[in-house]
């Protein structure tokens, strides 16, 4: 059976070239990167080389990068570190309603510590409301965190506009670029942001390595206190193999992005067009144009996402869903809710995030299998002929 992995916003397959670069740092040069003898020096050099590669990728200076254990730590670090460092100036933070949990949850934690958080709403395409954001700005606004691209619906946010607005009150802008890197151009000078997070395993690097860019001159308080690693801004022995992998993955993105981008966008355009033609009551979620290349997200009416996901997996197609039942927390996708989708429609949400490894045959296979699976599940559904008895049901009480 053909296997088509389309869950690339969850994680990606490590590039072989990345793995090759990582090997020597597991056993050959396993020393601590702080150790002064040759093996330690080699590890240190490898870490610094990786830092240069990540810097080149986003157009930053190496000293502006702090390695972390991944995107979640980088986002927590940005939110808490930038909030604490600017506490004297104010206590107001603005984040969008469609941020990743690694932004919204630290924001809520900061709320409990006395910070005030404003959530910026989005339109039905998932694009933030800039007018709302402008009106929310005040003297005490110290930090704004808006993602560059949404992993769930692919929508790209107008970060340059956010930066312009933020400068009126001198607020620092952080942007979560975890979903964006490897799929679109990301340059710090063009975006104008003060802080930016990324994670290696979303662009064919290893899990356990990410980075936070903090613009020179912007103050940040450490999240993890420890030794003098990362200039004292992030303690803990460096995960040298993973950092080396991050560096190589960044180099590959820098060298291949134009090809990968057009490849991804050709494939996802074909996938979206074909599925829309073949499946009725299928809705593309997110912005139709301003979206990540290779990103196809839908709502399939009358069926439930976990069932769809598992039946597709049975045919070798791996995707994800924002339905209540798919989530371990039994919560329907907050992103789709913020975009105004009612909960019964969110149950049928499905995400196909492509990677550089996918090809035309993969798309043909999905286009032939997906409509069959949808029909099969609709046969089982009481709503095959359409939603009915909808007035009978109230809000959803927790199970």
């Amino acid at each position: 059976m053909r296997e088509v992995y389309l869950d690339n916003m969850a994680t990606t397959l490590l590039d072989e070239r990345v793995l090759e670069k990582m090997w020597p740092y597991f056993r050959e040069n396993f020393a601590n990167a702080l150790s002064p003898y040759p093996m330690g020096v080699k590890a240190r050099e490898a870490v610094e080389l990786a830092r240069e590669e990540v810097a080149k990728l986003i157009g930053a200076s190496p000293s502006e990068l702090i390695f972390t254990s991944g995107g979640t730590e980088a986002n927590n670090f940005a939110l808490r570190g930038l909030a604490y460092a600017n506490r004297k100036k104010g206590n107001h933070i603005i984040v969008s309603a469609v941020e990743h949990h690694s932004i919204t949850n630290p924001a809520r934690a900061l709320e409990k510590e006395g910070f005030e958080v404003t959530f910026v709403p989005v339109d039905r395409y998932g694009v933030i409301d800039l007018n709302f954001l402008e009106r929310a700005l005040r003297e005490e606004t110290i930090l704004i965190s808006i993602q560059l691209a949404n992993p769930e619906v692919g929508t790209i946010q107008p970060i340059e506009e956010v930066v312009k607005l933020a400068s009126k009150v001198g607020a620092v802008v952080h942007t979560d670029c975890v979903a964006a890197i490897g799929r679109m151009e990301v340059k710090v000078d063009k975006l104008g942001v003060h802080s930016l997070s990324l994670s290696a395993h979303i662009f064919y690097g290893p899990k356990g390595a990410g980075a936070l860019y903090v613009k020179r001159g912007v103050r940040i308080q450490p999240l993890i206190y420890g030794g003098i690693q990362e200039g004292g801004r992030r303690g803990g022995t460096e995960n040298v193999p993973a950092i080396v992998g991050l560096g190589e993955a960044a180099r590959l993105v820098r060298e291949n992005l134009p090809q990968w981008k057009s490849h991804l966008s050709d494939l996802s355009m074909k996938l979206i067009k074909n599925l829309q033609e073949k499946v009725e009551h299928l809705h593309l979620t997110g912005h139709p144009e301003k979206r990540l290349p290779g990103h196809a997200s839908f709502i399939v009416e009358f069926i439930e996402g976990e069932a769809l996901l598992l039946m597709l997996a049975h045919r070798g197609i791996y995707v994800s869903s924002g339905s209540t039942c798919t989530s371990k927390a039994l919560k329907a996708s907050p992103v789709l809710s913020a975009m105004g989708y009612p909960a019964h429609l969110i149950q049928g949400s499905i995400l196909m995030a492509l990677s550089k490894y996918n090809n035309e045959e993969d798309i043909d296979y999905v286009v032939s299998e997906f409509p069959q699976v949808v029909s099969r599940l609709r046969e089982l559904s009481p709503f095959k002929e359409g939603w009915k008895d909808m007035d009978k049901w109230g809000a959803c009480a927790p199970h």
């Binding site: 009358f302 069926i303 439930e304 976990e306 069932a307 598992l310 039946m311 049975h314 339905s323 209540t324 039942c325 798919t326 371990k328 039994l330 329907a332 009612p342 909960a343 019964h344 149950q347 046969e379 089982l380 559904s381 009481p382 709503f383 095959k384 939603w387 008895d389 909808m390 009978k392 049901w393 109230g394 809000a395 959803c396 009480a397 199970h399």
Partner: protein
């Protein structure tokens, strides 16, 4: 995550469909929450002669619907009413903790279908 039995019933569910002249219909769940079951029963001499289901929901909800119909088909109404969620869980090889409510969904839909049958019969 799911037992083999759950996956079998999910991939090849039994007794799918509607009974146009059903003697009782039980509707349980809420599509807003993600699962919704319609059960149709045909009753003869106080026995469930036929039973069919239509379910909107995850693999667990579909598998529970299928196994439930198999468990009560041919049973007396009293036997059907004594069925518990534990019986279903045992038969299906268990469910992940966050999916146990799907077995309750089945029990409730069955009770409602039988109640509906009794109400209709009483009205006659």
């Amino acid at each position: 995550m799911y037992s083999q039995k759950v996956m079998e019933h999910f991939m090849n569910p039994k007794n799918v469909g509607e009974i146009p002249d059903a003697d009782g219909i039980g509707i349980e769940g809420n599509p807003v929450c993600g699962d919704m079951m319609y059960l149709f029963i045909k009753v003869k001499d106080d026995r469930i002669e036929d039973i069919k289901f239509k379910t909107f929901g995850c693999a667990a909800a579909i598998a529970v619907s299928s196994i439930l119909t198999e468990m009560v088909k041919g049973k007396s109404l009293q036997e059907a009413l004594s069925l518990t969620k534990e019986d279903i869980l045992r038969e299906i090889g268990g469910l992940p903790s966050q999916k146990v409510h799907c077995s309750v969904l089945g029990i409730e839909a069955l009770r409602k279908a039988i109640d509906d049958f009794k109400a209709k019969k009483g009205a006659k």
